[in-house]
Amino acid sequence: MSTDQLSITLSALAHPVRRSILTRLSEGDLTVGELAEPFDLTRPAVTKHLNVLERAGLIERCRDAQRRPCRLRPEPLKSVLALVESFAKHWDESFDRLDDLLTNGGGARN
């Protein structure tokens, strides 16, 4: 089991339900019940995903309010985002050039 922060963050992001939860929390705090609504999942199942996100430091549960809403903590995402973006740039630009090459029948060179 990897223990460095990037691996933990990636593991937490590796499930579509958890990515969807993070996306919704980016628009504002929500309770477990509110988060569970759009999914065909039980509340305990959603809670399990929230626990993974909380351990990865991607969310926090506010203690003050009775409803204990979940809140996004985006800091750990920065290293993942920067990494993914730099590879995405690498391939997007390479594939642009490949696209040019294929479209222009191999005659193009910058």
């Binding site: 691996s7 990636l10 590796a14 290293s79 993942v80 993914v84 730099s86 590879f87 391939w91 479209t103």
Partner: protein
């Protein structure tokens, strides 16, 4: 961003998956990946060029190449072809390459799906998370400092596998 991106992880591996559709039949796309004189026309980000010292498209075949950055820095790479299924699939074990400040030590799985006049290419970069991706983080990611969560949602979460 015209290239679709996704991230998924298993126990010890992390995949970065890039998908792009090209307006060319699979034969032409495959040729552009496997003919050295065509490959060096497009491989690498803007401003980069490539020297191919050796390229043998066969299982166990070596692909020895150097990427030249626009700043004059060279990034040597050495790869081995682990699977070669013409017009369908290439698996390349790549070692080296600090291109765009990133460590490119990973397994690249390239899948070609021809649909008549167009072809979908899916490129999976498969990293051993604890090792290579950790190095990639040290090499480049921390200098990034990108903050917008929306962009992550779009790039990481917004694309379906």
């Amino acid at each position: 961003m015209k290239t679709g991106v996704n991230v998924c992880e298993r126990a010890d591996e992390c995949d970065l998956v890039f998908t792009r559709e090209f307006s060319a039949p699979v034969e032409a796309v495959y040729e552009a990946w496997t003919q050295p004189e065509l490959l060096k026309e497009w491989w690498g980000p803007y401003g980069f060029s490539m020297t191919i010292n050796e390229m043998s498209i066969a299982i166990g075949g070596i692909w020895d190449y150097v990427l030249h950055g626009p700043d004059g820095v060279s990034y040597p790479n050495r790869a081995v072809f682990e699977e070669v299924l013409p017009m369908q699939r290439l698996v390349i074990r790549n070692t080296g390459g600090h291109s765009v400040s990133q460590h490119l030590t990973c397994r690249m799985i390239v899948e070609f799906k021809g649909h008549g006049p167009s072809t979908v290419v899916t490129l999976t970069m498969r990293f051993a998370t604890s090792a290579a991706l950790g190095r990639a983080r040290v090499m480049g990611a921390e200098q990034g400092g990108v903050e917008s969560f929306e962009r992550l949602a779009k790039q990481v979460g917004g694309k379906k596998l």
